[in-house]
Symmetry: C2
Subunit: 364 residues, 2 copies
């Protein structure tokens, strides 16, 4: 067994799968590892599983549990009598293929070459990521999920799951996602990638240690402009300089906040993983390879709840509404749930009160 | 006379002013130089002058003329029977204090030290920039402009001119500007500055030659996301990858377009000038130093036309509309002219047809 040089989250399980994975855009991963965590108990009929599909910054530690009592990224959503009620549901969350949280990614050892992939990690797609999630479900003996739930990139994953593996989930919640990436959103992500590549520590991905920390920080800061909203920033931060302006120093408190976001990502996110997952989102297109939208949607059997946020600046609400109408037009059971929040794109992460209402309605 | 190491635009005049300029945020420039160009003839009463206030990327060459027949940045607006009719008006445009187009800026020689200011150029404000424009008008013997016109940063200049030098212009057109910079807009500009500072060629501004070209290019690319609109990008560019995706290569044509914008700025914009003018816009606040808005607006005598664009993502239209209402509330002659364009913030530069209609109405 090859060593996994990534930090496996405390209390995560590791599923090691020796079956090669052929990737959508070419290349093969000879073997994969999947880090995952679970909450609650799988019923004897194995019919109470709910899969949380993580977003770009997510990992398997969505909530606390005995093996790791630290709060997860969706802490308020998981537990007894919470939206994902662990007295009723068996909740699963695995980290993303291509990421840096224990599942195979750029820091993993390439078994062919015997050293980490780093800048040579192949292009992965949302479909590849979902294929890995399905392999984990196979491993756990779960033939059909009660539900798959995700926001942003996680919402893209749930859509591919609904289309490509239509018998594997009865219900789908896709929040703040899109059917396919629009040019403007791809432009935003491109600039984050450019920031990483601009850092002289990037070295075509073949860096040691933390690598291009300044570039990664700037990428995160660019993202933050779109993860949150103009209204939020204008309400939250001062409209006057916080100190005597100097060249090229900090002048406004919003700038300190952004720089803080940029620094927080260091050590928590690997730059090659950032590039890999960012590109996977750009390439997201549920229609790719189908002769028509009708053909793409024909197999879908799940009930879908499509959620959008009015102030979303990264993937605006009209994209989710459009998707809902496409599903309805195709005769699918889709429910449109627009929500209002000046948090914008990140609402699914931040406003767990609103998400709780929606998830409860979905799981019914 | 000290040598001016900047490129003086072909056909520009140079006004050399040996009177020290005390700056709003501290420090003094011992002498200043102002590069400017003119079109048409000043009437014997000197009452037909129109000042064009340049935006961030602007310079004195707003239009072609005999000494420089190359097209200017507002070419379609200036000339016989155009909006700025050179058979009727004497049109003036000077480049910006703090910039790199002939007027005193970071590349200028610091007369105290005998070498270029570079990273030691002081903080300048929109008010300082306007003070220099007024000195030029004094030099030209123009006591009152028929009009001052500007978009974006130029629109901020026209507002400061209206408030601080209320007897110097009869009419003002301020397009896509704001009364004071909001935190969200300051956040955007901050990330452009961060991109420049991230480039290892930046060297705290004390670079030789072109300096941090990659960082400057990325700053420009970040700006472009906000100068234009989501609708424009989504209509103009392909929704599919243009080639087999590779890590970390280009995938969408919008990304090639952005990188092209980033490269176009190289050699055309100095990084220290970028930082200086970017900060000047962040610091823009027409209310600064006044006990109340009433006090600030009390002296204003000019007729003002306030223009906003519905798809502006950098300085949204509600900021211009708010400013118009503040002027009306103060009993000022303000006219609100919202326009519609998916070009967004850059409409004043790009859509000269719509701008022509407005300027003609203003000049009457």
């Amino acid at each position: 067994m090859l060593e996994n040089p990534m930090t496996l989250p405390l209390g995560a399980h590791l599923f090691q799968d020796e079956t090669p994975l052929d990737l959508e855009f070419g290349g093969t991963l000879p073997r994969i590892e999947v880090a995952y965590e679970t909450w609650g108990r799988l019923s004897s009929q194995k019919d109470n599983a709910v899969l949380i599909c993580p977003a770009f910054s997510g990992h398997s530690h969505a909530g606390s549990h005995e093996s790791d009592p630290s709060p997860g990224w969706w802490e308020n959503m998981i537990g007894p009598r919470r939206a994902l009620d662990t007295e009723k549901y068996f909740v699963i969350c695995s980290s993303l293929l291509g990421g840096s949280y224990g599942t195979t990614g750029p820091k993993s050892i390439d078994p062919v070459k015997g050293n980490p992939y780093l800048g040579n990690f192949p292009v992965v797609s949302i479909r590849d990521i979902v294929t890995v999630q399905i392999r984990l479900l196979d491993h756990l003996g779960i033939t059909q999920l009660h539900a798959a739930i995700g926001g942003s990139m996680g919402g893209m994953e749930t859509l591919e799951l609904a289309l490509r593996f239509p018998d594997r989930a009865r219900k789908i919640l896709s929040a703040s996602a899109t059917d396919r990436t629009r040019p403007y959103t791809a432009a935003i992500r491109h600039l984050g990638r450019r920031a990483i590549m601009l850092d002289s520590e990037y070295k075509h991905g073949n860096y040691e240690g933390d690598g291009p920390g300044l570039g990664l920080g700037l990428a995160r800061e660019i993202g933050t402009l779109f993860y949150r909203s103009r209204d939020e920033f204008n309400q939250r931060f001062r409209w006057q300089p916080i100190q005597q302006p100097s060249m090229p120093g900090l002048t406004f408190d919003v700038q300190s906040y952004l720089d803080h976001q940029g620094k927080k990502i260091l050590g928590a996110f690997d730059a090659n993983a950032y590039l890999t997952l960012s590109l996977a989102m750009d390439l997201h297109d549920i229609w790719r390879g189908y002769p028509s939208r009708e053909d793409a949607l024909e197999p879908v059997g799940a009930e879908l709840m499509i959620v959008g946020v009015d102030e979303d600046r990264l993937i605006p609400i009209d994209e989710q509404e459009w998707l809902h109408h496409a599903l309805i037009t195709a005769g699918k059971r889709s429910y449109w749930r627009p929500i209002s929040s000046h948090v914008g794109h990140d609402t699914f992460l931040v406003d767990t009160d609103q998400m709780t209402v929606l998830v409860r309605e979905l799981l019914g």
